[in-house]
Symmetry: C2
């Protein structure tokens, strides 16, 4: 017999360009299931839920729902709230009061943990409720899934940014010789790696790529930069904000960080600035850095169409699977075909996804540790949703010199 009751959906963790596409997928699928009554949204995920801050998503108009997939950031609000033991009873009281029988929570590994714990507490208290996680993280570091919704779009932004900023350096390399592009990525280099998708021909930017999966060696780095500069067309370097030294310490953490968030994450900062100083001091070469920061994860214009479609698909699948009886699972993406590229949804236990991080694997990182491999490009290219816009390449046919020097 079908489980009748309300559905609650929440968004958690860092916003992305497509987390609202997953929300739209949930809302649209919920409407198809008669056993689902009200569709509620949690304001700022579990943070608002603890205050019983909920909205009625059934009251939203068609136009807003249709615009949601192309609206970046988290429309319901988000949080980074780790639940404490005392929170669960309160949460369950709220869920029961509103007859919530379906809980869909969109987030990364911390959110998978939260979702799993809420489900377990409800089950132990005898409240029948199906909890399903919906993957979302620009960091692309969840296990058990081919990739994470949100990644394709941040990858597309960074591929475009590296290409355009690379052309900028190419044009002005006798003035601004080195450019550091600092990308997001706390512990994994997936986002940084995506800058390699900027390249169309040999010699194109970025010329060097450093991921936190390899210890960062300053002397090696400076040698690499010097070698590229000597080629006479400037040097564009993509680095991850979370670069670590040989001891595993982050290269630069933020000087005046205001505490840590409740999951214990420290505020990172300043890798780009730091490396520009190093290059100036040690090599006497002028460098500058671009750090798009949060702009990269939510830039609506750089949405990957593949990412939008998949984010919607995992949202819809969460509701469909929950209605079939699935619970305590996260929806995953399984690549069933590479050419043409196609993904289907699968399932993974929330408890296994929770708090596990998937770094960029060895086969995606060049032996020298300063670039990615062809295997990475093959993996990532379909995710950014179609080729980058076509640019002119001038032949630059030289005019014979007539004047002696």
């Amino acid at each position: 017999m079908a489980l009748r009751g309300s559905l609650l959906v929440g968004q958690s963790g860092g916003p992305t360009a497509v987390i609202n596409a997953s929300l739209a997928g949930v809302i649209e699928e919920a409407r198809k299931h008669s056993e689902i009554g009200e569709v509620y949204g949690a304001v700022r995920g579990v943070e608002g839920l603890l205050e019983e801050e909920m909205v009625n998503l059934g009251a939203e108009g068609e136009e807003a729902i249709s615009l949601l997939p192309n609206t970046p950031s988290a429309a319901l609000g988000s949080c980074r709230r780790k639940l404490t033991d005392g929170d669960y009873a309160r949460l369950l009281a709220v869920l029961k009061a509103h007859d919530v029988r379906y809980l869909c929570y969109i987030g990364g590994n911390d959110s998978a943990d939260t979702t799993h714990r809420i489900g377990r507490f409800a089950a132990e208290a005898g409240w029948e409720m199906r909890v399903v996680g919906i993957p979302k993280t620009v960091d692309n570091d969840l296990g058990y899934t081919d990739h994470c919704p949100g990644y394709g779009s941040v990858a597309r932004f960074n591929a475009m940014a590296a290409r355009d900023a690379g052309l900028d350096t190419l044009a002005l390399h006798t003035v601004d010789t080195v450019k550091i592009i600092e990308t997001m990525g706390r512990n994994s280099g997936w986002i940084t790696a995506a800058t390699a998708l900027a390249r169309q021909e040999p010699g194109d930017a970025p010329h060097l790529i450093y991921l936190p999966e390899r210890p960062f060696d300053v002397d090696r780095f400076l040698g690499d930069v010097k070698g590229e500069v000597e080629k006479g067309r400037g040097c564009v370097v993509a680095v991850c904000e979370g670069l670590k030294d040989a001891e595993g310490n982050v290269l630069v953490s933020f000087k005046y960080a205001v505490g840590t968030d409740s999951f214990g994450h420290k505020q990172l900062g300043g890798v780009g600035d730091h490396l520009v100083s190093l290059i100036a001091e040690r090599l006497g070469i002028k460098a500058r850095f671009d750090k798009a920061g949060t702009i990269q994860r939510v830039f609506g214009l750089a949405q990957s169409e593949v990412d939008v479609a998949e984010a919607k698909m995992v949202g819809a699948a969460a509701v469909a699977r929950a209605c079939e009886g699935v619970s305590d699972q996260m929806i995953t993406l399984e690549r069933v075909s590479q050419s043409p590229y196609r993904c289907e949804t699968g399932l993974a236990a929330l408890a296994e996804v929770a708090n596990a991080e998937r770094p960029v694997p060895d086969e995606f990182i060049s032996e020298e540790g300063n670039d990615v491999t062809a295997a990475f490009l093959e993996y990532a290219r379909p995710l950014i949703g179609g080729p980058l816009p076509g640019y002119a390449r001038l032949r630059m046919k030289r005019v014979p010199k007539l004047v002696g020097s």
Copy 2:
């Protein structure tokens, strides 16, 4: 009688998203004039010209020319080279050897000065050559023109970035409460001001905007931020990299700057980082900063259609006017209608444009010095080329609370 000979075009200063559209305008217009023989490009402006590094633009294929207007950065290469007295004779020898009778130089105020001086030297040496400047600068700080090609696109990027990063802060404001968006702008706040175009409804980001046209007062700034944070939806602040204190000193200059460029410009840096530290130290509030850096000036995807069309128009006008006999002038843009928006080209003497900077005028800055005025929005809105993409705004109808706290 028509002046017969070759045309040389060069690009100078910081790249933009549309400087190649001006190049395309030059090439296409030159083809219409039978008195113009060869069309040459200077590699890296006067820097390459001193080495007689020139390309034959007549050898470029149709496809490359047609893609040029939508290809960001400077396809011929650029420079920031201030000519010294000894350079002119060498330059003229190169120009004469290639029978250059038409010189079109695309750039900002420094380039206007360079162009004027080359023209004067050639005239004094009895070499008949028409020199015309083509305006280009994301900084929008040239006088005698309504605005500068390049500005509309950097403005569009920053309006979009501020809107999207604003939604990001709105969603996660209980974690990352304040966001600083650091924009380009050495001495003028035009680019920073453009972030205001992000706003669609009252309360939208950015909440505070600081331009270098007003002395930056730290205590006033911290008070402004505190006031915005108390409204409970986070605070997004747009600041210019070139902010100055009451004594006119830049707030933060780069620690390890490698000299200055040949025009004496110092390397700026770190305003965003500095303010994040101040907010943490003095207010105990967590902040972060986004600094898109060079990405903002060349992001192809954010090109303003108006900007592309006007950049092409001023390029074509430079050639057409030169063929009519105009010399020692820069093409300007004159706004002949606000609704519907329309600009025509005009002329201004290069010597007057040279080295003059146009700051954001008083009537465009709010009385408190922390925002722009409606008059600025009216001025800038047409330049970004059509409205920003439509986003969903959820009604967020609250569900009545049923559980006591």
